[in-house]
């Protein structure tokens, strides 16, 4: 088992080794962000900023002004939490290729408690014009997202988790930046997930197929911005029921982005699973996911509810 932050650190190491133009910055969290090997082996491409996340963004922007790609790393609660206005002005408004890496996102950060569990970072970043947003679901996808993030000339955000998790079986679906990955196909409903919750989506879809003969599709939306609108519209047209799940506050996260798009283009039944109007707290990942409704059981209930609503909705529509 490996964490998405491991995938980031290992892929970035290879990219830094191959391209002198990439500069990695840290705010005293190089080992947590898995960039300590870069600091050791490529000191010329590494900048320690100390515990100064606001200055780190300005420095990253200044370095990018010389034509380099800056990768600014810290915990998601601080980066973009602490330094959001610096990201808005120094990075996004200037359109500089500065990559914001926020690790330890979500409840899975566990024992460190509410202050360290970013549940708002996707909202903060997806609202900024021109900012790409990536949320990898496992170690390998984190490597893929890291490559896509660095290859893009735009500002970008990569959300990472601390917890090691099992490798997902992506079947034959290839990672393509900006595209959702269809991990299961199904005509009854579609679960759209990102990050660590993709594993739950797969579990629920497989259970419902085996136990209730329901065909539930699963889409892994590892690129949140730009949103794969074509795929979402197609899924809404095909299944008329979308269930989103995310390890994030429902306001401004994956579900909100998906629902806003579908509401304007192809209204259908939408159910959302995520954190609602609460901060986190200390506990294990398992305890917290249970307490905040990020469980297979809760997701399954929402799928069933979506199917019931879809039935009523289609009947109403017919009359």
């Amino acid at each position: 088992m490996k964490a998405t932050r491991d995938g980031f650190g290992e892929e970035l190491y290879d990219l830094v080794a191959a391209d002198k133009n990439i500069i990695v910055l840290s705010a005293d969290l190089s080992s947590s962000l898995k960039v300590d090997r870069i600091a050791r082996d490529f000191p010329h491409q590494y900048v320690e900023c100390g515990v100064s996340e606001q200055n780190m963004i300005g420095v990253a922007a200044g370095i990018a002004m010389t034509g380099k790609i800056s990768v600014a790393t810290s915990f998601a609660t601080f980066n973009p939490g602490r330094n959001w206005e610096q990201i808005r002005v120094s990075v996004a408004m200037q359109g500089l290729p500065v990559k914001i890496i926020g690790s330890h996102a979500g409840l899975a950060t566990g024992p460190d408690g509410a202050t360290h569990q970013a549940l708002e970072d996707l909202a903060l970043m997806s609202v900024l014009p021109g900012m790409e947003v990536f949320v990898p679901a496992d170690y390998q996808e984190a490597r893929d997202c890291t490559r896509a993030l660095i290859a893009s000339g735009q500002p970008g955000y990569l959300r990472l988790s601390r917890e090691p998790t099992p490798a997902l079986d992506f079947g034959g679906s290839e990672f393509v930046a900006g595209r959702g990955r269809r991990l299961r196909s199904g005509s009854d409903a579609t679960i759209v997930a990102c990050g660590l919750t993709v594993a739950l989506a797969l579990e629920v879809a497989d259970t419902l197929r085996a136990q209730a003969d329901l065909a539930i599709g699963v889409v892994d939306l590892s690129t949140l911005v730009p949103l794969d609108t074509a795929l979402l519209t197609q899924l809404a047209q095909q299944t008329h029921a979308i269930i989103t799940i995310e390890e994030h506050e429902l306001v401004g996260g994956l579900g909100a982005l998906v629902a806003a798009h579908l509401g304007r283009t192809c209204p259908c039944v939408v159910e959302m699973v995520g954190v609602e109007g609460r901060f986190g707290q200390s506990g294990s990942k398992e305890q917290l996911w249970e307490a905040y409704g990020l469980t297979a059981g809760n997701l399954q209930n929402h799928v069933i509810k979506a199917l019931e609503r879809k039935r009523e909705w289609l009947l109403d529509d017919g009359s």
């Binding site: 300005g58 922007a61 200044g62 010389t66 002005v89 120094s90």
Partner: protein, 287 residues
């Protein structure tokens, strides 16, 4: 490095800058008069006597960088850039207008000499530090200058940047502080006293010189002293008079962001005409 210009030429250029600043802000109907007038001599000194730049050639590999961190001073920056040949002076009167590249607070447009975005205070110093580090690591001789203000020192981010600049011994970085002693709500020492600013910067590891920000000979002398310092970032702390040059506006925190009445504008422009004549500026040259 440029050849220092004769002081009477600098004075004329700075008066032209002030004339444009006044016209721009009157036309725009808003803008920061006092600090734009108060920083005109600093802008003039650096752009006319120090900075190695080739307007129109951003790729010029040996060029210096001048960033503005206290973005509200931008009327004086824009007028200075036009005076240095980055763009035609007639564009200045589009300040703050819809569609103008000259926004009320600067937006990065390198080809116009507007190197960075600014306005939200504290960010330009960090950008300058990042630029300076990248140039230092590249072994470049290029220098980075960033103009800040005394009020801006209340932002914590600048002190993060000072730690950083000293830690990495960014000798190619010079922070210029326009210390005009005023800010939005009144006098800096009353709103949030900075105490011994020069001493604080020295204790952070900066080589610091204090200068009369309106005395070109003093600016040159203190700049020369700092230019000879190795291994340390530098700070030129410039004491200035807000509203410098126009009696009504001088030294009064009220004019940080306030706008004169029509009658006051008439009075200001009458005094400006006299001052331009006294400085030997040919007003027919002004667009």
């Amino acid at each position: 490095m440029l050849e220092p210009r004769p002081i009477n030429q600098l004075s004329q250029i700075s008066w032209r800058t002030r004339a444009y600043v006044l016209r721009m802000i009157r036309a725009a109907g808003s803008g920061h008069l006092a600090s734009s007038l108060g920083s005109s001599d600093i802008f003039t000194f650096f752009y006319q006597s120090v900075l190695n730049l080739q307007p129109g050639s951003t790729a010029f590999g040996e060029r210096d960088y001048f960033l503005l961190s206290a973005g509200h001073l931008c009327p004086a920056w824009y007028a200075t850039l036009a005076g240095r040949g980055f763009f035609a002076a007639q564009h200045l009167l589009s300040l703050r207008q819809f569609g103008s590249p000259l926004q009320g607070h600067p937006h990065r447009q390198v080809e116009l000499g507007v190197e960075n975005i600014a306005g939200p205070l504290g960010q330009g110093v960090s950008m300058a530090a990042g630029l300076a580090l990248a140039l230092q690591r590249a072994g470049s001789q290029q220098k980075v200058f960033v103009l800040s203000s005394d009020g801006e020192q209340q932002e914590g981010q600048v002190w993060e940047a000072y730690l950083f600049a000293a830690h990495y011994r960014l000798a190619n970085l010079m922070v210029i502080i326009d210390a005009n002693r005023i800010q939005q709500s009144g006098l800096v020492r009353q709103v949030m006293n900075l105490g011994d600013l020069a001493g604080k910067l020295q204790s952070f590891g900066f080589a610091v010189r204090e200068s009369d920000g309106h005395d070109f000979a003093d600016l040159q002398a203190k700049y020369n002293e700092l230019a000879g310092v190795d291994n340390q970032p530098k700070c030129l702390l410039c004491h200035t008079i807000p509203g410098k040059g126009i009696s009504l506006l001088e030294g009064d925190a009220h004019w940080h962001a306030a706008l004169p009445t029509d009658e006051q504008w008439d009075e200001i422009f009458a005094e400006l005409a006299d001052k331009l004549t006294a400085a030997g500026v040919d007003t027919k040259e002004l667009v």
